[in-house]
């Protein structure tokens, strides 16, 4: 069965819940309504032979409505073909039913989509953060999250590491810039060396006592 035949069957079965498929660079993608995703996936797996979930990705289309998308890449081992299923998710209600009951592979992928976008997969057996740490307050792959990162507390503030800080976008701790202190001062070192160095800078003509 080719992907377009599968989509045809899917459209016959689910009617308006399935959009017209889009073909681009030889790949078929089809949009399915959020309410029907589990049924549609079950149909695709058992009736159309898409026995493998290759990938599951969240996408943030900031500025358009509905804002988020969950993208499933299905693969059929028997027919050797790929189908992309996309489900739009609105920002006000970010829940979507889990497909972990259909493909075991969905488990970590859905956790990652939750971790990065805050998409809530209803019925997931263990929906918690996977790449970021438990208790991290933001969703880093959303478009409003800055590349530099956001100030946040670490999982274990008592360990001494404390916080994550916003990263410098230009330069870095060892790159000189206009008006920055001398390279010796920028390097991490013992406190008394810094004091000595500052003293030297303040009184450049003072001879060192031997």
């Amino acid at each position: 069965m080719t992907p377009s035949q599968a989509v045809e069957q899917l459209r016959q079965r689910f009617g308006d819940a399935v959009n017209v498929p889009v073909l681009f660079r030889g790949e078929t993608s089809v949009r399915v309504a959020r309410e029907k995703i589990v049924e549609a996936c079950r149909f695709l797996k058992w009736e159309c032979g898409f026995d493998m979930l290759t990938d599951l990705a969240g996408v943030d289309n900031y500025g358009t409505e509905p804002r988020f998308e969950v993208v499933y890449h299905l693969y059929s081992m028997t027919n050797r073909c790929c189908l992309r299923v996309k489900v739009p998710v609105t920002e006000d209600d970010m829940t979507i039913d889990t497909v972990t009951g259909i493909w075991a592979a969905a488990d970590w992928h859905e956790r990652e989509a939750f971790d990065m976008f805050g998409l809530k997969f209803r019925g997931h057996p263990n929906l918690k953060r996977i790449l970021m740490w438990d208790g991290y307050p933001y969703f880093p792959l959303r478009k409003e999250f800055p590349l530099a990162g956001m100030d946040a507390e670490l999982r274990d503030p008592e360990s001494g590491a404390g916080r994550v800080e916003v990263a410098p976008m230009l330069g870095g701790p060892f790159v000189p810039g206009q008006g920055s202190p001398s390279s010796i001062l920028r390097e991490p070192q013992q406190v008394d060396t810094i004091a000595e160095e500052q003293e030297k800078l303040a009184h450049p003509n003072k001879k060192e006592s031997v």
Partner: protein, 411 residues
């Protein structure tokens, strides 16, 4: 004295027996990693044990998360190539090739045959390098340290080849969108031929050290078995999938980059245990030698970059002397190549499995979304299924046979 000693032993054995009865069924949770030598990177495992038997495993990943997908959204298509080196850092060349093909698929661009052949050589060298490391550390993890020394000696030569090819040993960044950073230098092919002549001897040596080794067989056979159904259910790819007996290789199933012109076999296992995974990797190296040999013999001449002035950087000499080229160079470097809007998924058969790039483009010089489907991430997910009911020492063998890389898993 001897008899007395024996009696003591028997007494202590009886005591252990008694205590064992009391403690049987008591569960213990212990932590393995993230700085454990057998976890090959920063993987943390939480184990639930009954004695030494594993009841459950919870892998905890993310220690090496660098936000590669976020970074990709903030740079041009070409600027992301160095980041692909750092995905599966044991096979950077293969990642470079996969990423370049993914973006070229979005652009609808085909590279010239010479470029394809050089990329095939790159990808197969990366496969050999990755498998040499995988098998070397596999041996080491189950107690055969010698193998590691032999395979690392060979890997060193691959790094020399990388250095000759692109100037860097480790972070190669060799491909460009629509071609390569530079053509093969004239010294490269003789070096490669020499390497291909020497490699089979090392593979044979490893073969004699491991394949019929009683200890190795005991440690790996029927350990961490994955059935065909489980493997497909978990989306497993690469040698681990083939070890279960499914003949599925992207180079054969969906040939890309000229792989349809090469004659090679896809090894499959029958049981799906650690030993089969080892055998698959061994045979894949031999097949890679065959592929590289064919690539060298039929290496086409001609251009190694696609003739697309708006995508591929022009020659430096032309940039310095001609107006048109100067403009193209300037636009390409500052704004990036102008990709059409649309979305593609491209996957390549990497040493660890299927490395896929799902690209959403809204046009212009940067991706709107770039999802990396990392084989290590997907393959590691099946660890609890494989490890349940085995001993902790078997877990070490299973981890080694999975041959994952955390750089790719955590991205």
């Amino acid at each position: 004295m001897a008899t007395e000693h024996q009696i003591e032993l028997m007494e202590s054995a009886a005591r252990a027996q008694e205590a064992g009865d009391e403690l049987r069924g008591e569960r213990m949770i212990i932590n393995m990693g993230p700085q454990h030598p057998s976890t090959h990177g920063v993987l943390r495992l939480v184990l639930e044990l009954d004695g030494e038997e594993i009841i459950n495993v919870w892998p905890d990943i993310g220690f090496l998360h660098r936000g590669d997908e976020k970074l990709a959204e903030n740079m041009t298509w070409t600027q992301f190539i160095p980041y692909t080196d750092r995905l599966d850092y044991l096979a950077p060349l293969a990642n470079n090739v996969a990423y370049a093909y993914a973006v070229e698929k979005l652009l609808g661009l085909e590279v010239p045959p010479r470029c394809q052949y050089i990329r095939v050589v790159c990808a197969e060298l990366a496969r050999i390098s990755s498998h040499l490391l995988g098998i070397g550390t596999f041996g080491m993890d189950v107690g055969a340290i010698t193998v590691f020394l032999y395979t690392f000696k060979e890997r060193e030569k691959i790094y020399d080849l990388c250095e000759c090819l692109c100037g860097a040993r480790f972070t190669t960044s060799y491909t460009r969108i629509g071609g390569l950073a530079n053509d093969m230098p004239p010294e490269f092919l003789p070096m490669l031929r020499k390497f291909l002549a020497e490699l089979p001897a090392t593979i044979a040596e490893v073969d004699t050290l491991l394949t019929r080794n009683k200890i190795f067989l005991d440690r790996t056979r029927d350990i961490g078995v994955l059935t065909k159904e489980q493997a497909v259910d978990f989306g497993i790819t690469g040698p681990i999938l083939r070890a279960t007996g499914i003949e599925w290789d992207l180079r054969k199933a969906h040939p890309y980059g000229g792989y349809e012109k090469f004659d090679f076999d896809v090894p499959v296992g029958s049981v799906g245990d650690c030993y089969d995974r080892y055998l698959c990797r061994m045979e894949e190296m031999r097949q890679s030698i065959r592929i590289i040999q064919q690539a060298i013999d039929n290496m086409p001449g001609g251009a190694w970059n696609a003739p697309e002035a708006k995508i591929v950087l022009p020659e430096k000499k032309a940039v310095l002397t001609k107006m048109e080229e100067l403009i193209h160079h300037f636009i390409n470097v500052t704004e990036g190549l102008n990709a059409p809007s649309g979305e593609v998924y491209f996957s390549a058969e990497n040493p660890k499995g299927e490395l896929g790039f799902y690209i959403v483009s809204r046009g212009g010089g940067t991706p709107h979304r770039l999802k990396i489907r990392a084989p290590s991430f997907v393959n590691l997910q099946a660890l609890p299924v494989m490890a349940k009911g085995h001993m902790i020492s078997d877990l070490v063998a299973i981890l080694a046979s999975l041959d994952f890389v955390m750089g790719e898993c955590d991205r």
